[in-house]
Symmetry: C3
Subunit: 459 residues, 3 copies
């Protein structure tokens, strides 16, 4: 299958190295849902793939929301009476409550205290906190730092701006043979946090790079979104409402760099083709992989799967957000992610897309009894032994290719890998035993879009 | 939810005390499927709720059955040669085979023996036996009593009458906003047996009392039946055949006083709304609660779920009939049931009815992406933490309120309690984010009754 | 039920003795997919049942296949330098690669070696190997024989013929009340191998013998096929393409003589009535019985379940082909099978067919409440006890006989045996409480065949 072959040309080791290196370059930047950090990040992605960057003005209405003011920050600190920076934005951009309004004041610890956030259970980690939609200021620090602060006055400074500007996001589109689209979405709004979200955006970038070389051969068109979480997805959907009739499948990518087993969270539909493709691929990658039911909390699948859109978009992760202690803390750093894990995640994406690209229905042209595979060299010659998986796959494809079952249906039922079922189908087709069936579920058909459209326009 | 609030006004302790006290008052009466005992019981229930008592003459045809002669009993005994009552109805009304025809004779033990019933495995317990439809006489006694009887002649006396009269039952009706009814049925024909059936009838009485104070606010109309087992249900159904088109949901209540975990036996339909409501409530009450498939043996759900009626009526129990050793013996006495258990059972009924009363479909009025809950004060303000169940419930209700899913559907899918989902829906509706959907499955609609009617008139 | 009664007249012991005896008579014959061995076998079956033997000329096209040349063999050996037969066809017909072309030559061991087959893991067993569709010669021998062969020249002789002739198969048909057919198919092409396939063909023969005495009483018509594996099924189907519209249910019988628990492999449909009947019967025969999903590899169900036919044909086995070490070796001999196991297998077939013969829909004529079974003598008389399974079965049949549920549906749901449910239905029908419902799924109806036909002619 084309994508897997393309991945294999690069190889796991080189892919892991490149992914980790790109994450390391992006790590120091102080990103937020708007501002210079995200803009700089998008420009760095642009060096790898043909990314179009969009700016949407503060105050723009996007469905029930409004694009917020743009936030930028130069410096922030808490100084003790001796003038020493006891909390210093220059050391970690997590130290400042993301989207803090500017402040410069001196105040006793008692007054400062409500603005300080720490994690008592992990006294050495700095938490990551945000206040996008309520004007607030604050500092995040390790709990051991916090408890060590003596009483007395502190100089508090946040040199930030919150002013009309714009929200930035990036979009990368590859036209395939069909105008039906596969959406790959990742958020790019977190500051120095590695697994959430640098792993997602680096894997998405590498995936786009890989597809760029295959584009004319692709069945589907592909749309990659690099957006700030929540408000970015909402903004994009508000500005691209017609796209929902074109998006057939999609993946939100995040938390893909740590060594936990894969987790796939299903779309709201629960039985969308992406759900089945991801579940199939993961089950063949590892017994420890888990498929989770949809829930309306999480990442941007919340927006893509809101009832008005109800797109077939799931979320691929290794560790699940919120379930690992390092989540949204300074411990989610470059040591928490590994080149090999990033590369495996990229390969998993490639395998899922290969299923979608190649999942077709075929019809057995000799449906009455088995065709004689032996005289075509597709069977073993000496009877009495057991048969190889390759031969077994051919029998499965022949038996279930009645025009109703797709290759994925057959892979699921046979418990053989999609790759093996696909190879069997190709071989049988080359031998004149199968024909491709084009129908309402094959992606290119008007009828299919019609069905999709009616689902999406229930409201 | 209204019923729960009403229950909370009384409180568990007071509810348990009242239930147990009422059971204790009813305990000594010698009830049967007809006669003074059941009539006296109905009059005592009438002191609590507006019960209408019906009398149906012996000999009346009710479907395949005939209302039997009325049975009454004043006294019964077995005297030994010394004139001592060795078995005495005055000590326990279980001692006489219920519905025994009158007899007064002297006979040797050998002749008496076939008329004596005991339980060898529980030598101190008196069994409860009946012979409603075959004219017979007999005595029930503990096995230790039985084996201690010396040979010789015994004077046997049963001072009963079996004569034309009537069968009595009680009915209590509360009109709600809809003419669709919820049926609560319990049998009231057992003599001094506490769990089966005093627990059922006291819980039903308390439930009716609680509803009486809410009646104009209720979505459904409620019909309570206090009837003799089997023949009572058959008689009522024969006289109220049109009611089957009005009964949407129902519960048979029995064995609700012992400390066993809850058991709910599903209706014949298996997926009726009452089945799902009861299963949901019990799963949130206790991990030990069990849901049982329908079977055609048991209590009066046998009649309500006969194929000609096929009503959505299940059976709520703690211990399951026949499965506990005390069942139908003198050990099912006032020590076997507990105030707290009775009160918990009442509350479980209340919670199930609250689900039925409040299970509606809503439509998210802002279905494209999530509405901004934060600016409505319906979200947390500081990002980065996990969200509370209350907020999660709001996201579930918004995401799945597409006009198809009811609140119970959403509660099942989210694994949050119906109460929490309901609260979320109320809050979202107050905030203009949801609207109620009235449709074919909402109870008040003509279409729904039509569907129901056609199911019930397959014959 | 008729078939079970007929089996009981013979009894397990006599059935086992006869089955084993017949297998022993057939054991020495050197069978193949064509030739004298299979012809002699069919004539021996003919002594028990009215079998019609068909001959299909070599070269005949059957779907994608061609009937092969006929193979016959007189003798085969490998002689060492001293003239001693170190491998001797006269000692075991497994010694020759089945379908070996003739050869007479002297060659050194090195040249002979690629033509020798053994099983290193089981050094005392001779493997069974075939080469039907590739002209080849070879010998099978025990691994200990093989390794003991000294270097040097060997005289190799296979006195076989491979020439135009015919393929033989046997067919036995019993007309029942309906023209709808049940197919019983077994392969008869293996040489001295007991479990695979003598057990299958002896059980099929005994089953046909049993049906022969009931034929006018049977609901279905029955067609027994005794055919060479794969090519025989393909040949029969090619010559009887119209039959597929008449075959409603079917079983492939094989591996039925060893003491392993029963295994039933479902038809491609997965929910065909035969699948449910077999699963039901096996679940009541033993907790160790297993039901396997369909897969397109195995015995002749591969052909009957090819997508163009898609018949409701499953495969009944004890040990599953390929999963036991003795499979296709000299260890699958008369010691590997047991009279008792063969008889149990025959009885299992009988029970499955009894389900198919008697699975009907009934309608409760008194569907409103329970009918009063007591006054018809169909209930217990003294209340208070639990009820017997027989009474319980009557309640199940009454409750679920709404014209939709068949007796098998009710047996599955109640977890009572089909036999008990059937007895209840007969009794209730005799008492005027049930009527038979004739409908689209009852086998005799034109509508049913129409449905079937359209499924089968999707191609």
């Amino acid at each position: 299958m084309k994508l897997s072959k393309q991945f294999d040309r690069v190889g796991m080791a080189a892919a892991g190295r490149d992914l980790y290196q790109f994450a390391a370059e992006l790590y120091p930047i102080c990103r937020s849902i708007t501002g210079h950090g995200i803009r700089q990040t998008l420009r760095m992605i642009q060096q790898h793939i043909p990314l179009k960057i969009f700016e949407v003005a503060s105050g723009t209405s996007v469905f029930d929301w409004t694009v917020p003011k743009e936030w930028n920050i130069k410096d922030a600190y808490i100084k003790d009476r001796s003038g020493r920076r006891v909390v210093d934005f220059q050391k970690s951009n997590l130290h400042v409550l993301n989207y803090s309004v500017p402040i410069h004041a001196t105040m006793p610890l008692g007054e400062l205290r409500p603005h300080l956030f720490s994690i008592p259970e992990h006294p050495d980690w700095i938490p990551y906190r945000t206040s996008y939609y309520k004007e607030e200021w604050g500092f995040c620090l390790s709990h051991s730092q916090l408890v060590a602060l003596p009483d007395g006055d502190y100089e508090v400074s946040i040199d930030s701006t919150l002013a009309d500007g714009s929200l930035s996001y990036g979009e990368c589109f590859f036209a395939g043979q069909s105008s039906d689209e596969i959406l790959i979405s990742c958020h790019v709004c977190h500051p120095s946090l590695a697994n959430d979200n640098l792993s997602g955006l680096t894997v998405a970038t590498a995936l786009a790079k890989l597809l760029a070389e295959l584009t004319s051969d692709l069945r589907y068109s592909y749309r990659f979104l690099f957006i700030p979480g929540t408000i970015g997805a909402i903004t994009w959907l508000a500005r691209n409402q017609d796209a929902r009739t074109r998006i057939r499948h999609g993946l939100v990518l995040t938390c893909l760099g740590d060594p936990a087993p894969f987790h796939y969270k299903k779309s709201r539909r629960g039985d969308a083709e992406i759900d089945r493709a991801a579940a199939h691929v993961l089950s063949h990658l590892s017994e420890r992989a888990e498929v989770l039911d949809f829930s309306p909390y999480g990442y941007d699948e919340r927006q893509y799967c809101s009832p008005g859109f109800n797109l077939g978009v799931g979320c691929l992760m290794r560790s699940v957000w919120g379930s690992f202690p390092e989540y949204h803390t300074s411990a989610d750093n470059m040591s928490f992610i590994e080149p090999k894990c990033l590369a495996e995640s990229l390969r998993a994406c490639v395998m899922v897309l290969d299923v979608l690209e190649n999942d077709r229905r075929y019809r057995n042209l000799l449906p009455f009894c088995e065709p004689q595979l032996g005289r075509r060299g597709l069977y073993r010659s000496t009877g009495g032994d057991s048969i190889a998986d390759e031969v077994n796959a051919r029998l499965w494809v022949l038996n279930f290719s009645d025009g109703e079952n797709s290759l994925l249906d057959i892979a699921e039922r046979s418990r053989l890998s999609f790759a093996m079922i696909f190879e069997a189908a190709q071989l049988l087709r080359e031998n004149g035993l199968l024909e491709l069936v084009l129908g309402a579920n094959d992606g290119e058909e008007v009828a299919a879009k019609g069905v999709h459209r009616s689902t999406a326009s229930d409201f």
